[in-house]
Symmetry: C2
Subunit: 134 residues, 2 copies
């Protein structure tokens, strides 16, 4: 299961992308329209900003805009920022790899092999640009 944080982050990015006419978009508005607790949303936005997924404008009339071309933003990117690995076990994660403490031989581990295959199936779905979501 992904966290609420991740779901909120995805909603936020989609909402900003859907409403270019309201740029820069205030956290208050996002919070109200997407039913995300305001202070929690602030945290999430800070996280997204530190990873360049959004940019901010300070002061009155300020708010957030996407940090890069929406074509280049995927759900996978957002998930990795807020939840960490996409893979379901750490020993098959590319970016967050960690060996399993009790595993005897990673090369022949059937569990690892299966979850590696699983990750391979998952990635293309999650790495599509957010602009392709309908």
């Amino acid at each position: 299961m992904i966290s609420k944080r991740a779901k909120y982050a995805i909603k936020t990015i989609l909402f900003i992308n859907d409403h270019p006419e309201l740029a820069p978009m205030s956290a208050k508005l996002i919070s109200e329209k997407e039913h995300i607790p305001y202070k929690f949303l602030e945290n999430i936005l800070r996280d997204l900003k530190s990873h360049q997924l959004v940019k901010s404008v300070r002061g009155a009339e300020g708010g957030y805009t996407l940090g890069k071309d929406p074509e280049g933003i995927s759900i996978a990117q957002i998930m990795r920022i807020v939840d960490g690995p996409i893979a379901l076990i750490p020993c098959v994660s590319e970016r967050y790899y960690e060996p399993c403490s009790e595993c005897e031989d990673e090369e022949t581990c059937r569990i690892r092999k299966l979850f590696n295959e699983l990750r391979t199936e998952m990635l293309p779905v999650l790495e599509r640009s957010i602009t392709t979501l309908k």
Copy 2:
């Protein structure tokens, strides 16, 4: 990420299936060979038993055997028992469905659509019989 509980459960089922000559298999042996904390393993086995994935024989020389034909056991089954849903958001889970509290319209939700597609890609991998794992 799946829990350690789930990984231990999978290892346990595979180990029992791999060693029919040691049936019934004691928790002590599984614990030692697969490096799973004994008391924790007991919990997991109880859980697997209550879902008919293993059967037990009590007393000295007792232990555990598979609760059904290994052809009929999948990683998905084990994961559902110990971790719950396979789907990454509750609103696309078949067996553990729950609506998203903040969602306005499930039918048109793009996030839901994507994660539903994701689940559809994941299931065939996880629902293969454990006997096919190499």
